[in-house]
Symmetry: C3
Subunit: 114 residues, 3 copies
């Protein structure tokens, strides 16, 4: 079974396809922007990477969401709730974690079926 | 290959079955209860969701455990150790993470085979 | 499809093989050592466990890296960058999380193809 790497760099790939699943790198938005703006950008990037893999948001199996500050939970969720495929919602877990720099407020990691 | 979603809501599903694996949402216990009580409730909920998926704890592949306060590590582990299938223990990782509200002390995310 | 557990203990296994994938437990280095030393030891342990599973670092699909202190990001990355298979980099996410004790600075969780 082959492994296909999407947008590989020297440190990581943005996504890796293996068998009937695609694993995305943790996606972040523009540092310093609002939680709403970062979440919107992240979800657009997830859509883009899933399309490159031959998948889409209706096929997301699981999502981990890391927030720099859990007080941003509701603001992140508002963007998530308007984006998620309500007929096909993934399993999800959200926890607080400092990210690469404090300007990053949200990071989302998804695994999807093809 | 079909995707089956268990207890889907508008934001997430409690579990998603794809191929020969089931991905559970991060499970939490009753907020404000002790670490022992929350962990006990979480593991019972994992048993219940695995059964709905056609799996059980002997088939858990991996578990991530998030603790609001890593000083609760031993208390969580006491409950885990009495529950885990000692003949079939999963790969596991435990780290500290603030959860949805400070009343939540433990969250556990599992992936299991069917 | 069988499940093979590598170095099972009473609490967890160090790795679990199912189908064409292997899931590793969160790997840590010697507590109290430097970030460089801990990361080096973790990556050697990942190499060892992948070999036991019949895999190797060229087949890693995804890695989660937890740092006790995100200020160690660059020090961890220097070790990672010299180790990772630059032709076959995994999807990756890095976040901050307190680990089992404060002497642990880094924990890495990988999933690989066989």
């Amino acid at each position: 079974m082959t492994i296909r790497r999407i947008e590989p760099g020297t440190r990581m790939s943005q996504a890796v396809v293996h068998g009937d699943r695609v694993y995305l790198a943790g996606q972040v938005g523009a540092p310093g922007k609002s939680v709403t703006e970062q979440t919107t950008a992240i979800l657009a990037e997830i859509d883009r990477l899933l399309a490159l893999a031959g998948s889409d948001k209706s096929k997301i199996l699981t999502a981990q969401i890391w927030l720099d500050d859990m007080r941003d939970f509701a603001e992140m969720n508002a963007v998530w709730d308007s984006w998620v495929d309500k007929a096909n919602p993934p399993a999800r877990a959200t926890g607080g974690a400092p990210l690469a720099t404090p300007d990053y407020r949200v990071e989302i990691i998804v695994v999807a079926a093809l």
